[in-house]
Symmetry: C2
Subunit: 191 residues, 2 copies
DNA sequence: GTCAATAAACTATTGTCATTAGTTTATAAA
DNA sequence: TTTATAAACTAATGACAATAGTTTATTGAC
């Protein structure tokens, strides 16, 4: 029973993604969004509860897109091939949608169940890859934290312009992957 | 020739740090800041050019504090001891001043020379530690990028609440350090 | 086809910001 | 004591999110 089939939440999210793609997260305002959709700002409240609600929706969307990309990257691959493909997919996601990536990883008090579930889904993909290295249980979870840290750290520094030295970024990233793989093959002893 | 020795830029920065410590970056407004200082918002423009200018100043302050902490952490230490101490200092900084850490690493179009210099200073500390591992030149720079990525990734995920699994974070961080050290001792071959 | 229900748009308004312009005040030096 | 000026002030503007209340268009029942 849709009454006026103009704007719906999907179109709203789509337009929001375009906005942050063009102007970054700070370009995402109800004024700009309404203009892009051809309606007045207050009408947006028929589709989202608030601008924070909209950002939450985008965050969730980002997490799910990322998980989808990661899953596609490892399909039909295992061990080293899977790891490399996954790492490149992760970086590619952040490079092509930097604003969405930033929002996805933004901290929030809104620790929602859906949000956690979406995050856990990506974790499952990593776990599957690590099982190919014979890692399971707590050891695997600790290892995943290290891998996630390296990936997130690299791509967030990269899209923030944090790597200033005139040195090939692809080379650095390849080294990072090799180091991670080495860390998985021979988990260093305590000490 | 100070005319009215009330608020100056140092007190302003100090109050700003308290504000973001208490309420996060979004709690940093000229209204709140002026109230904390006992003046009216427009008076703040006698000490900073804009709120973005203030955030730039805080970013710079954060970078310099971080560098100072890192430097102190490695003084009188070398190789493994230096690396461990440095990593823990890095994490400690982010844990105790999460909002400032977040701002420090925030992306900016304001790619200022002072900002770059401050960032490079921390890099020098890392370089000094790596030289103890026999790493120099481009190899050292690539290795630094990996180390920075791991550190930044871990602490930013940690302060964002990104590690949801019920698993000791200190243990994960220790593993991360050991993996990084292993990566430095035996730089993995290409392929 | 008419009409009631309602989703989705609208107008008008409020409150919170950052920011600017112009004015007053207090201090330091002459 | 006077003067220059840094640093406060008042008043106002414009962007934004958000709310209240109103209108409009479409759907579905009759």
């Amino acid at each position: 029973m849709p009454k006026r089939p103009g704007v719906n939440q999907d179109r709203l999210v789509e337009a929001s993604l375009e906005l942050i793609q063009e102007q970054g997260e700070q370009g995402l305002t109800f004024v700009a969004l309404a203009k892009k959709l051809g309606i007045k700002p207050p009408s947006l409240y028929n589709h989202v509860r608030s601008i924070d609600d909209l950002k939450y929706i985008l965050r969730l969307r980002g997490l799910r897109l990322l998980e989808s990309d990661l899953k596609n990257a490892v399909i039909g691959r295992s061990e080293s091939a899977a790891l490399h493909s996954l790492c490149h997919a992760y970086r590619h996601f952040a490079q092509t949608q930097p604003a969405l990536y930033r929002m996805t990883l933004a901290s929030t008090e809104h620790d929602d169940a859906d949000l956690q579930a979406a995050g856990r889904a990506s974790l499952e993909v990593l776990l599957a890859v690590l099982s190919g290295y014979g890692l399971e249980g707590e050891r695997a979870l600790h290892a995943i934290r290290c891998l996630r840290s390296a990936l997130h750290g690299f791509v967030s520094l990269e899209i923030a312009g944090g790597f200033a030295m005139p040195l090939d970024l692809d080379d650095s990233f390849e080294l990072l992957i090799r180091q991670q793989e080495q860390g998985l093959r021979e988990l260093p002893p305590r000490g």
